[in-house]
Point group: C7
Chain length 74, copies 7
């Protein structure tokens, strides 16, 4: 049986809403549209949250992978 | 059906005004003219904003990819 | 006799609960489902702890390798 | 029609005066003589500015790419 | 005569107790079971020390190489 | 006509005295003996300056490229 | 005549006592036994100094290259 890889977890989250935790202590919440091996990510209907509060509506957003700590289901 | 990649999101934003969020807590706003796989970016008619206020007109600007957090429509 | 490699230690921890220590001083605890050579990691039934206290239930989470300090059995 | 790349923007700035914004919050201003794919840069008649004030005349200067945030016309 | 390489020093320390000094100012002490070219390290019977005091028993631990400053005999 | 590259600027400075500006806010001043594509640098008759004052005579010194901001004639 | 490279400077220091300046503001002093292209270094009879005072005897120590600022004769 083939072992799963970490990117499989991202693949399962495609088209679902995710929380993207950033190194600058902010969170982005949006629908995961795309990712690549650098963990660059494209979100749709995204918004920025700081301490649980919505700070900004972003719409479609590209996030550079090296600023990301983790990604989990919203 | 082919799955979309994060750079497709940037490609759609070409020649449109975008907000480029930098790691130093500043924002650049300008027309996205070009980008590459390092997320190096060239903007036109760009200006620098800090806390929502225009701080400087930059015109044409080259931004090194590793200083960028995210890019979204302006 | 072949010498062991560091990733063997991770392999032995597969499907077991681990503590993932992050550079931002938080800990993730969950079942190790997958990892790769960048030490990108996928956890299941994960929760975030700060100073020993559970702060958040995360469920399935993808963690970018470069944010990780160490991984040990929970 | 071929799409432009970010380094094209730098190429257009060759032999012109540019502002190089550094990660340490200083600015270098000088004539752009050369650059490479790492965004290593060589300037001529360069000076260092901090908060808009000239702090030092540098003459010819080599700048390591990974210290640069952005480059724009002076 | 062939010149020694830095990893030879690590190889000599295999199966011996070492002090692993981390960038976050903590120390790990344990038996060095494995390492690779990224200086990813696997320790056995490891414990975490802060300012010379044992803070936590870790058992078997995987340490990501880029968090390590130096490794010396315990 | 071939375009100049940033390392050409360093090459011209070979065997001349240069100021090497480091990311830790110190300066090294010495004769540039060698450099490579990582901008690792070897200086001769080097001294360390902090805020314009000589702090230490170093003699021959090897400097790791990723700690360097810029190099200019002394 | 072939031009010298920065690693030649390290090679000349082999088996001699060197000062290794670290990014965490500490110094290691010891006999340089080995180095590689990442500037990973192995020292013998090493000791750690902070502000010129010996803080710790380390004996044989492996130092990860990316923590090093510079290396000079002791």
């Amino acid at each position: 049986m083939e072992q799963s890889r970490p990117l499989d977890a991202l693949n399962k989250a495609r088209d679902k809403r995710v929380i993207v935790e950033l190194k600058n202590q902010k969170q982005l919440i949006g629908k995961l549209k795309a990712f690549d091996i650098h963990i660059n990510v494209a979100l749709e209907d995204a918004e920025e949250r700081v301490d649980g509060e919505i700070k900004r509506k972003l719409g479609e957003v590209f996030v550079r992978g090296d600023t990301i700590i983790m990604i989990s289901p919203a």
